[in-house]
Symmetry: C2
Subunit: 353 residues, 2 copies
DNA sequence: CTGAAAGCGCTAACAG
DNA sequence: CTGTTAGCGCTTTCAG
């Protein structure tokens, strides 16, 4: 197994020159560079990562703390990890995977053992005991999710407030005057994940700003029974309102249903079907889902995108800004905007328009 | 940031003693051990991973090559990664995640840079160009999946042949004389993943051994149309056979349908429902699915388990045998046995029994 | 533009 | 049972 010394000998240069050729940290004459490169190829030289880390005090590794087992949305995890991993590779870094069940000790271990140059902490909750530890570390930490107290850390997340707003406004535009939001499952609500509140609050605020009624049904477990019950309540609420319509106009496009938790979508569609209610005709349904998933439901459901790839790409970007030359002073919250796409489950437009 | 030298000074011992206390590689008097431990705690000392790797020629890291994007069964990936990660931690190892799209260069890089002590290669295909490279490495490689030429490498996989057999035998026991196997999607077939063939062959062999007819419908894309067509053909095949029943007895329990690819199960159940065919009464359905998933379909589908956790636990076990003291000589194929669980979708038993 | 040399922090002989 | 010492392979001053 060749070392940089072997490369140096073969190229007829010093070991430090080899190092500088690889790092580009000082000017090298074209001729020498070529000789060194040739020697590297010939020996298929790879720098020893341990030695590099020891001498250079950079591991070229990022630690990724993944919420295995406890994830509210396991579907989004894989694309996320994938994107981080390939993003890291583009910057000549590798990814060390750590499971969240190690708790805060994972963080101190990653830092203490100098296992990585930076840490990405996934699925951060509103009040997360790891934040305090994380903000005391010397290695930069990037949070995916926005806690109540970011504590000077950099956060990246989908803009759930914008998502809630977008969903409601999209329905209002299509003429809905009564909106119901099917909330998150009890697990998510109890764990107090930040976006649960942000989504709901923004949806209510948007409705109130538009002067329409909005019922937030939450929590709703991801079981057929719970979703069926919630859908039933939502439909009744909407019907109750009809008679009291004060302008007497028939401008009500029916219930506008927002499904906040992607996992509940198939159940919600089934529940509507059971009652003979047709999305896109009798009611509108807008769900939080990745575009690909939304396009694949039957019928394709209108969705506010939760592209975990968008978020993770942004995370990679911020991550390597943290590892770059100019140190971004304090923390910062970076929210990735969602998009609303109308598919088959929204009605065409205001009846009175 | 304290080093082992600091610990040594504080404990009033030599640096090597600190090292030996941590590794347990030589006897230490109880008194000294205590002093050292105390110093370690007090300083919250963590050994520098790079230095340790450099001096000790063990990184305490295992490389995991994950088939992101191309996985035939994304659902099984996460539990697998999770199990490997926590298994590794139990042995004081960490996991470095590498995406398969790096191809063989990932392997040479992991080895060349001395990034890990062993490599786990997931979702190995029947003829996989990485095998040749892997078997030439100095770091031990564990394959998940069984290639045609294991080339002296250790492999761990679900026993797909046993699974195929189990599914067919389970149906035969319940009285089915006509069996159809809904095969894998074209992607899986084309990529020539080993288990596709092993499952199908074993199913056919078991049927032939039991003297029952068996049609292998493959490939079947995971689209409503393709599955519907395949189900239709399966049902017709079964019906054709009825008239030719040579013993004249009405001992035919109807079609026994094996769904080889878990992803097709909902589509298959829907296709049956469309034709008014009731699983568990008119036909039996046995699918390859994790138990949890099978229990959650409606109705709960009888299944041959594909517990990726079982496989990955076995993988961890073999992995650390490779890293242990006694070097398991050559390669070896380790097959994890599946289990058959009858749920709602199999008929009660032979009509004639 | 290039070399020489001093460590980075740890492990593992070797010596008692 | 414990201490001394020589590297592991690289990066990075300091010289030229």
């Amino acid at each position: 197994m060749p070392t940089s010394k072997d490369v140096a000998r073969l190229a007829g240069v010093s070991q430090s020159t080899v190092s500088y050729v690889m790092s580009g940290k000082r000017p090298i004459s074209e001729e020498v560079r070529q000789r060194v490169q040739a020697a590297i190829e010939e020996l298929t030289y790879h720098p020893n990562a341990g030695a590099r880390a020891l001498a250079g005090r950079r591991t070229h590794v990022v630690g990724l703390v993944v919420p295995f087992g406890a994830s509210a949305d396991p579907g989004g995890l894989l694309p996320f990890i994938e994107t981080i991993a390939s993003g890291a590779r583009e910057h000549d870094h590798d990814v060390l995977l750590v499971t969240a069940d190690e708790g805060t000790s994972a963080l101190t271990r990653l830092e203490g053992r100098r296992l990585c140059d930076a840490i990405v902490l996934m699925e951060v909750e509103a009040r997360d005991e790891r934040i305090a530890v994380a903000s005391g570390l010397r290695v930069p930490v990037l949070l995916v999710g926005v806690p109540e107290e970011p504590d000077g850390l950099v956060c990246v997340d989908l803009d759930f407030a914008a998502a809630g707003r977008l969903a409601v406004e999209g329905l209002v535009e299509r003429g809905h005057r009564r909106i119901a939001v099917l909330g998150y499952p009890p697990e998510a609500v109890e764990r107090d994940i930040g976006y649960v509140r942000r989504f709901g609050d923004a949806a209510l605020a948007a409705a109130s700003a538009a002067g329409v009624e909005c019922a937030l049904l939450s929590p709703v477990a991801h079981t057929a029974a719970a979703v069926r019950a919630a859908v039933g309540r939502a439909l009744e609420t909407a019907r109750d309102g009809d008679g009291a319509d004060d302008d007497g106009l028939d401008d009500d496009a029916g219930l506008g249903l927002v499904v906040a938790s992607g996992g509940a979508v198939p159940l919600a569609l089934t529940a509507l079907a059971e009652r003979g209610v047709v999305p896109g005709r009798d009611v509108s349904v807008v769900a939080m889902l990745p575009d690909a998933t939304a396009a694949a439901t039957s019928p394709p459901v209108s969705n506010v995108s939760t592209e975990s790839r968008d978020v993770s790409r942004r995370a990679v970007q911020e991550l390597f800004r943290l590892l770059g030359d100019d140190p971004p002073t304090g923390g910062g919250v970076h929210l990735v905007p969602p998009r609303l796409t109308h598919r088959r489950t929204t009605v065409a437009g205001p009846a009175g328009a």
